[in-house]
Amino acid sequence: MLKFDNVSMRYPGAGDVLRNVSFHLQRNEMAFLTGHSGAGKSTLLKLIAVIERCSRGQVILDGQNLNQAKDRQIPFIRRKVGLIFQDYKLLQDRTVFDNVALPLVIAGYGHHEVSRRVRASLDKVGLLGKEKKYPAVLSGGEQQRVGIARAVVNKPPMILADEPTGNLDPELSAEIMHLFEQFQQVGVTILIASHDISLIAQMNHRILKLDHGQLVAS
């Protein structure tokens, strides 16, 4: 599903952020990406979402070489990847329903299909009944679940999460991780960047460890 082949990333003036990173995530696989702050976790995720492009090597997502993707193809690549953020990135002036519906509206789904899928997605994360609420009145855990509902509503084959539990207490974090495992069970490939070592250790999944831009454990 996702293949990194000798990927290096260099920011002008900052040196190599990633150095010769190679790994392969199978379809349906769930993996954690760990490492100290500044080890290159976020950069690696940005390469998959084509927010950045690597300086050397190849990133291949679902058979497509992201380095060779044209600018106008990027939106369609991003529709294959559900993104989840530490700060949720919800639109505060839109209801939960509208937030979750955004990827479907963008993809051009009709009203009925949008409505049906948003409900199914909210049901999945346990927020059915809160469609009309605004993000500000929800708790942190609930906001993150809205973010997850938005990431999966389009049924992407891959989910990327950048420190999804960074702002949550251990109990909520475990709940969120459990939710990810449910998505893995229905066939989604999941890559979660996190430095919550104790939480990761409890779960029996593959761990990719970055140290100063190099993959030291896989």
Binding site: K80, G108, N154
Partner: protein, 333 residues
Amino acid sequence: MMKHVVNKKVGKQEPRWQTKISGGNFVDKFHAYRNLHAHALFSSLGRLLASRFSFVMTIIVLAIAISLASGFYILVVNLQQLAGNLEASNQISLFLKDEISETRANKFVNSIKQNPDIQEVKLITKDEALAEFQAYSGFGDAVKALENNPLPLVVQVLPKNSLKEEQALEALLDDFKRSAEVDFAQMDMQWVKRLQSIMEVAERGVVLLSLLLGAGVLFITANTIRLEVHNRRDEVVIAKLVGATNGFIHRPFLYSGFWIGFFSGVAAWFIVTIIMLILKQPIEKLSGLYDDGFRVLFFGFTETLALLFISSVLGVVGSWIVLHFQLRQLKPE
């Protein structure tokens, strides 16, 4: 159809995670696309109206710029009508010297008739001139009080149409000026010509002013949209992250530009029309003193449409410029 059925089935059961990127049947998608446009059209209007104060200020600034250009245009249209009423004939008026008698004047007229370049010659006697002056000048009673008729004999000469060239006409005029009978010779056309050249300058002025103010409208709209993009930066970034195409992101802003241009056009129409209504009465009073063939012209149907169309297009183009150069640089993070 197949897909539709599949979707229905899935809806009843647990949603299955498939790797499909787009969905819905064609009709559904077409409706969705149309709804997107309708939504962008009205939500952008709603957003503009929500920020009432800045929206109204922008519209007023743009409307003033547009009404300057279109008001000047209407002014020129009215002046053209005035100039159009004046026939640009080549007529020459010869004012004869005071001591010339009517008999001698008639001889002079006959001699002019011999000239092959002349089409028509007409003598206006002192009495005729006085009667005409009394009727049209508005000094009727004052003229009656005069003991003597102060008006000169006038010979109106109309050269043949073949004599179009400026130089030939000038030569003819000089000939007349040298005649012993003539005190003063004047080509009637000259001031019409001057008016026409003034009109040409004014027309060109309208074009230049419109271009300048149009560019102003373009950049004011662009700046307004730039602020709008800035205010909605989060929304743009999130939309980009979940796979929005540039078209999707641009759409509401383009509609905002359209509304700004359209409302400015409407406001400009009212500004110019109100100004013309205020000026209508004094202008018609003034023109009534000269020649009552003049009517104040307002924006016609076509001109109104053109005004609204041009201002709307300027709004759309203005926002397009910003979107093209700014949103491209707006990286998701």
